[in-house]
């Protein structure tokens, strides 16, 4: 190519590249911090939104719900959208003054619900036998291994414990919690039954006995990997996560699955005290509540208008639902 043509050619290439949006620096970045159980649907929603709005770069950074909020409240990061798997955390942690004298937020929009299920694979022990009616008998068998996330790190972990505490009461099966979970620890985890409901106080170190029927992993990600490799037979997890991972699952009664607002009073009858206070800004008591997802835009969102546009799109997509999406409210 002649030298005189080289410069216009380079300029043309740069212009075409800019117009097609390939240079990320020209895009408006919208930072979204969601709960881990929303990562599969949000990945899909992000791609759809960016295809419609090539000038926008949706950047998603998953965390546990409490950690998601702490990015704003404790770590002073500028985030555009916070999306959590426990709506109650937003008023609890964000309806308070931040460093510039205004609340971190004053509102939230609940938009989806989830429920606890028992996820399993075709290779799980008694996979062809387990049903909605006999699941607790299967779990109680000596040769069945179960797993859940670390309750200190992941909401689905303490929700698994609460669900089993409610199951013992609801199914009138005294000792069920200990047979399936509590007896795998030394000393055994003991549920205190009071007039206000069932209370479980966890030890500082929550480590099942080696070779026992219980395994704990940091989060769903590691737990379900273990399930798929045959390390456990059944995992307590969210229904949307089980579906998103293509796993089989047993649905549990609405009275105990934390998925139905109509049973909110029932869920409130069980609470777990974590073994230590992981965060200075939130206590260590976790009470049974319906699992409701919620979104908010923090006071210091760098792109509040774009955040709102994306939020509206996201809410519309969640209301339609999809595979691996928590159910719309």
């Amino acid at each position: 190519m002649k030298k005189s043509l080289l410069i216009p050619a380079v300029l043309l290439i740069i212009l075409i590249t800019l117009c097609s949006g390939c240079i990320a620096g020209d895009k408006t970045v919208v930072k979204v911090v969601p709960a881990g159980s929303l990562l599969i649907p949000l990945d899909e929603i992000e791609q759809e939104y960016e295809a419609l709005h090539p000038e926008i770069d949706i950047q998603i950074e998953g965390h546990g719900s409490i950690q998601a909020i702490r990015q704003v409240t404790d770590l002073n990061r500028s985030i555009d959208l916070i999306v959590v798997a426990d709506a109650s955390l937003i008023p609890d942690m964000m309806y308070r003054e931040g460093p510039v004298g205004v609340n971190y937020t004053d509102w939230y929009t609940p938009f989806a619900r989830n429920e606890m299920v028992l996820a399993f694979t075709p290779e799980s022990a008694y996979a062809d036998e387990i049903t909605r009616d006999n699941w607790y008998e299967i779990l109680a068998r000596d040769d069945v291994k179960v797993g859940f996330s670390n309750p200190t790190l992941d909401a689905s972990g303490y929700r698994a414990l609460i669900m089993m505490m409610l199951a013992e009461e609801q199914l009138n099966r005294p000792g069920l919690f200990n047979t399936v979970i509590g007896d795998s620890f030394k000393p055994a985890l003991m549920v205190n039954k009071t007039e206000n409901g069932s209370i479980l106080e966890l030890p500082v170190l929550l480590q099942p006995e080696s070779g026992s029927k219980v395994t704990i992993r940091d989060s769903s990600l590691f737990l379900l990997n273990l399930l798929e490799s045959g390390g456990i037979d059944y995992a307590f997890d969210y229904k949307s996560v089980a579906i998103g991972q293509g796993l089989r699952y047993v649905e549990l009664p609405a009275e105990i699955n934390l998925g139905d607002e109509a049973f909110a009073e029932n869920y409130d009858n069980a609470a777990v005290y974590l073994g230590f206070q992981r965060f200075a800004t939130i206590g260590n008591k976790r009470t049974g509540l319906p699992i409701v997802y919620a979104v908010t835009i923090p006071y210091n969102a760098p792109e509040p208008e774009e955040a709102e546009k994306f939020m509206e799109f996201m809410l519309a997509r969640f209301s339609e639902g999809g595979e691996g999406y928590p159910a719309p409210l």
Partner: protein, 182 residues
């Protein structure tokens, strides 16, 4: 002999001119160690960096699968650091807390490198666990560990082998206090 003397003089001049300096000297980040009997000791990053250290591989993953690293990390094994306040023994726990209000608790066995999970590149559990050492890290890739990544002092799980991924929940950022309980 003259040559050696000349080199020594040059090195001495470089020190006095500040050409070779302690990269940790200006980091204002006191760490409080508290022993099981209440003994308290405060160490600067510079003092920690002067203790016998170990170096190896560090690679972590968050609970949602975000990988951090791999790094070449340097620090002091936590179990050895606690010898400054009487040590830690079987049955005791170690509470590591951070400037942002975060707390994590380690068992004695974990400090020995036991009861820790290690994962391969696909985040599957490794059948043969690697040798792991929880350390208080102050350097990564030969430089002081940066504040934005959780420095200047961060817990880390060091492995002798590369490409071993460890649980990010143990990598406490901005460590400013370590207590022995029990």
């Amino acid at each position: 002999m003259k040559k050696i003397l000349l080199i020594l003089v040059i090195i001495a001049c470089m020190f006095s001119a500040g050409c070779i300096s302690n990269p940790y000297a200006d980091i204002d980040w006191p760490l409080t160690l508290v022993g099981a009997d209440g003994t308290e000791k405060i160490l600067s990053v510079s003092e920690i960096a002067a203790l016998p250290s170990v170096s190896g591989h560090g690679y972590a993953v968050s609970t949602v699968g975000i990988k951090y690293g791999p790094y070449e990390i340097t620090g002091v094994p936590l179990i050895e650091l606690l010898n400054q306040v009487g040590g830690v023994h079987e049955g005791q726990t170690v509470h590591v807390s951070a400037a942002d209000g975060y707390l994590w608790v380690f068992s004695y066995e974990q400090l020995l490198g036991e009861d820790l999970l290690c994962l391969d590149a696909n985040l599957k559990e490794m059948k043969t666990p690697a040798k792991m050492t929880p350390i208080l890290m102050y350097a990564a890739d030969g430089k002081p560990y940066p504040y934005d990544d959780g420095g200047p002092l961060r817990m880390a799980t060091m492995t002798a082998e590369p490409d071993v991924i460890t649980e990010g929940s143990l990598w406490v950022k901005w460590v400013d206090r370590i207590e022995v309980h029990g």
